[in-house]
């Protein structure tokens, strides 16, 4: 990889939002790579770490809004795992802000684009290249 953003997208919300963004012509950064998952709760710590290992500049997990996970706790667990991954990275001196969790609904393409842009901004600020 070379500076890509890996985004794990829940197929009930974020993945649909990403489609909608494309449909509405909301442009997103080209370095985005989406991996579709059935629920944010499917994303494991090792997936996040491997993405960082492979050279992703940032890793995002995008799930449903709080309280609206089809599987009740999937998004909550995902958030916990992202937080833990952040810790794991920080403790070895890697910027923990490279991983993040966002909650959004399927009808929120703006929020989706915002999340990706925010990550790009964040990474520019921190100046950390891969």
């Amino acid at each position: 990889m070379n500076g890509e953003i890996v985004a794990f997208c829940c197929e009930h919300s974020a993945y649909v939002a990403a489609d909608a963004a494309g449909k509405q012509g909301l442009h997103c950064p080209e370095n985005l790579r989406i991996i579709r998952v059935p629920c944010a709760g499917r994303v494991d710590i090792i997936h996040i770490l491997k993405a960082v290992e492979e050279g992703a500049v940032a890793v995002l997990v995008l799930g449903c809004e709080d309280g609206l996970c089809q599987h009740l706790t999937g998004n909550v667990r995902a958030k916990e795992r992202v937080k833990y991954s952040e810790t794991l990275l920080k403790e070895i001196g890697i910027d923990g802000r490279r991983v993040a969790m966002f909650n959004l609904a399927a009808n929120a393409p703006h929020k989706f684009i915002q999340a990706i842009n925010e990550m790009n901004e964040r990474m520019k600020e921190s100046g950390e290249e891969k």
């Binding site: 494309g22 059935p38 494991d44």
Partner: protein, 542 residues
């Protein structure tokens, strides 16, 4: 078996102009395991179906990669097509090059499109067939709660030919209908009679649920009547356990001899023969707090009208707001005003005191801007709307969450309105909160439709989509504890080994268990660790 992959590229009628399809095709053709790369213009149309059919059959491929629009649109169709071609639908891998690539960026995105296809192709390499099989389901339904909601849904189900067992904790059917007069009383008897007459409905009164095991299509329910417990099987369970109301003791001076009564007591008075000395003035108070007051509003309007008609009393209704968003409420309100019921709007809580056998209400009416003091023969107190007795015990027995107020079914868009996290277990009516009549009816019809769909003969389910490897399972019970759908249980594998086992009917394919398993013993085909990691590795590799 040797992987043989067919790749189809769709340029969406030639509209994806910022992707150079021949170039992509050229890059892919020479890859190992790739049998062919085809470019089509409209894979979703008849011509596309024909193209896929002939190529898959002649080339005899065992993996299909399709780069086209979002899987949200095309996945079902293509999977269905593969099935027709006798290729397992799970051997399909999609690349979303339209919404998430061509449309998402300006300028040439050939490179990115190629990469997305590579990700899909690398995932395809690792896909395994997922077989399906027909699963026999029990299509009898258990309805818990013999109130309006329970009776009505039993009637609807039975009319579809679904055998229904209706159980009620009390000794008679009717539930809250028994406590409401006026319009509701006529409904009560008709409905009870209809339920009793219906052959497809078995009625068990003075009966409770003692335990629920199993899964959709095959629940075993322990039913308790007195001390006797019986085990029965059902395909689905509908809970219509209703609500209870309670006069908040803190709000009213509830002492014997003080004429402050509950709605329930009022209903009893109205059912009894009309008293000699009818009360001259009757006060009603509701909406003391800002909580959802749909039910108190309806109950008050209904009772106020009935009292007016039967006793001809003067009626004063004290309230903060009259919320008429529930069905029929506005009509009741207008009728009440026409009949001379006086509504007084307070902002601060009225003072209520006993006054020589009568009740004095002092309030500041915000519309009149004046202090109002009224002495009534009778005051009907506001009642709080609460989950019915036993809801807490039932929810822990079912392992299903309740909202902070203790009602079932949080407003989760994916489950809304009547499904629960446990497939085949439904909650309808006022056990979900203060709904009002209109929404209760909607619930009833939704649940009937859902059950009909779920329990139709010949339910087909995937086998081992999410599967535990018993050799790797360390029986730590983590998956059993975390599964939001109660789909995992511990089973004896052989004489010495126990392991987790996932019920394919109850499983809702979230993958939470696969992620959390500390022994990595759970594989979610299609989204396995290897398949996810293959996609990660493919990023930037081309």
């Amino acid at each position: 078996m040797q992987i043989k992959m067919g790749i189809f590229l769709c340029d969406c009628g030639g509209s994806l102009k910022n992707i150079d399809f021949p170039k992509i095709s050229g890059n892919l053709e020479n890859l190992e395991d790739v049998a062919f790369v085809d470019i089509s213009h409209n894979l979703c149309l008849e011509e596309g179906t024909r193209a896929i059919t002939s190529r898959v059959l002649t080339e005899n491929v065992n993996r299909v990669v399709i780069a086209a629009c979002s899987p949200e649109f095309c996945e079902r169709n293509f999977a269905g097509l593969l099935e027709k071609l006798r290729l397992n639908p799970n051997l399909l891998s999609l690349a979303n090059i339209r919404e998430q690539c061509s449309w998402a960026h300006e300028g040439d995105v050939t490179g990115k499109a190629l990469e997305l296809i590579m990700m899909a192709a690398d995932r395809a390499q690792l896909l395994q067939p997922v077989e399906t099989k027909e699963i026999a389901v029990n299509n009898e339904v258990l309805v818990v709660g013999g109130g309006f909601c329970g009776m009505k849904s039993s009637l609807e189900l039975s009319q579809l030919g679904i055998r229904t067992t209706l159980i009620e904790r009390e000794s008679t059917l009717g539930g809250k209908l028994r406590e409401l007069e006026g319009f509701y009383s006529s409904q009560r008897e008709t409905m009870i009679k209809a339920v009793e007459k219906e052959e497809n409905i078995e009625i068990l009164t003075s009966t409770e649920v003692a335990g629920v095991e199993g899964k959709i299509g095959d629940f075993s329910v322990r039913i308790r009547k007195g001390k006797k417990e019986t085990l029965r099987s059902f395909g689905a369970i509908v809970f219509a356990t209703g609500y209870k109301t309670e006069v908040a003791a803190g709000d009213f001076p509830l002492k014997p001899g003080v004429n402050i009564i509950s709605q329930e007591r009022l209903a009893q008075l109205l059912q009894a023969p009309t008293p000699e000395a009818k009360p001259d003035t009757v006060g009603f108070i509701f909406d003391l707090s800002d909580e959802n007051s749909r039910f108190p509003t309806l109950a008050t309007l209904n009772s106020a009208l009935t009292v007016k008609q039967r006793w001809g009393s003067e009626i004063y209704v004290f309230c903060k707001n009259v919320k008429v968003d529930s069905e029929g409420a506005e009509k009741l309100y207008c009728e009440a005003r026409e009949q001379g019921v006086v509504f007084l709007k307070f902002d601060e809580k009225p003072t209520i005191s006993a006054d020589d056998g009568r009740v004095k209400i002092e309030a500041k009416d915000v519309l009149l801007g004046e202090d109002v003091t009224l002495t009534c023969n009778l005051v009907v107190a506001e009642e709080k709307f609460l989950p019915s007795e036993g809801t807490k015990g039932l929810s822990s027995l079912l392992k299903i969450r309740t909202d902070p107020q203790g009602f079932y079914q949080e407003e989760n868009v994916h489950l809304y309105p009547v499904s629960s996290e446990r497939k085949g277990v439904f909650f309808i009516g006022n056990c979900r909160g203060d709904l009002g009549l209109g929404r209760v009816l909607t619930d009833i019809f939704s649940v009937v439709a859902k059950i009909r769909e779920l329990l139709s003969p010949g339910v087909v389910a995937e086998v081992d989509r999410v599967k535990v490897d018993p050799q790797k399972c360390v029986a730590c019970l983590t998956c059993i504890r975390v599964c939001p759908h109660n789909a995992v249980q511990l089973v004896q594998i052989d004489s010495e080994k126990v392991a987790a086992d996932i019920s394919q009917l109850a499983c809702d394919r979230c993958g939470i268990c696969a992620a959390i398993c500390p022994a990595k013993a759970i594989k979610f085909e299609g989204y396995s660790d290897e398949q996810i990691l293959a996609q990660i590795k493919a990023i930037g590799a081309s």
